[in-house]
């Protein structure tokens, strides 16, 4: 099974494309994993329950929407891909999912939304490289987009 980590960012989209291509070529299953973490207040304190639940749940909603979009793109590419929503921290969530699902390969973008620019490697990606139970393919954003990135 090929596990594709996505957060909807440009490098993640490139990772999705490669992961789906690999799954199709190998005839193996594919799954997307998107990690979310609950919003936190100052100093990492949990937000008060009284806050708008829609606001508190916004990260999970975002993850669900990201997975839906990825799933649609997979279907358009002719690949049936499972979607897995996982609660952060991201590195642990991706690696635990890879282990639980016995992934043969993890495909991940070079950086996600968290990176300041495309030249900086995401800490999630480096962490996954360190802890993944299987080989990891790191995919960059396509070079045409990278050229427009701030340097």
């Amino acid at each position: 099974m090929i596990l594709i980590a996505t957060d909807g960012s440009a490098p993640a989209r490139a990772a999705e494309a490669l992961g789906l291509e690999l799954a199709r070529a190998r005839g193996s299953g594919a799954a997307f994993v998107c990690v979310w973490a609950p919003l936190r207040g100052s100093f990492g304190m949990p937000l008060p329950e009284k806050l708008d639940p829609e606001f508190i749940d916004s990260e999970r909603t975002w993850a669900e929407e990201t997975l839906e979009a990825a799933s649609r793109r997979a279907a358009a590419a002719g690949v049936q891909a499972e979607t897995i929503i996982a609660k952060g921290p991201a590195v642990q969530a991706v690696c635990d999912t890879a282990e639980q699902r016995r992934a043969g390969l993890v495909v991940i973008g070079s950086h996600g939304w968290g990176a300041m620019m495309s030249l900086i490697f995401g800490s999630t990606t480096l962490g996954v490289l360190q802890h993944a139970p299987c080989p990891v393919v790191v995919v960059r954003d396509n070079p045409a987009n990278a050229a427009e990135a701030p340097v």
Binding site: L18, E21, F121, L129, C134, P135, V136, V137, V138, R140
Partner: protein
Amino acid sequence: MFGTIVLAVDGSRPSDRAVDYAGRLAKESGSRIVAVHVKEVMAGRAAGPVHVDEEEILNKVRAQIKQMNDDGIKAELQVTSSMTGGPAHIIADAAAKESADVIVTGTRGHTALAGVFLGSVAQRLLHLAGCPVLVIPDTAAGGTAAGTSQEAAAVN
């Protein structure tokens, strides 16, 4: 899928794992393998640069490529020298020149420090490569996390 695979080799144990993986990948998808070996040149005291065990490493790497050819895999070896510690640049350049679809590398090679999970070459490759980089974990079980802490414990 992967038409051309550029494979970073240096005869180390992590590199052996990358060789095995790339071989299987190539067999599966009929890829061509371009193995790139960058000779590590160490600065000698007075007698100029010295290649450490370079003959031995080169023989091993050549044998690995020959084994691939015997297995019906189209594989070739490119050997270059680096004076200034730029193996990652050379491998990334080779990948660009060969229009590689992927670079396969181990987590680290001969010269990496114990306890460092991702060697400097692999890490630089991630920055320099224009194509996807496939990193093969070091330990049989896969994840390097436990292995690294065990290694670190052994060192301490």
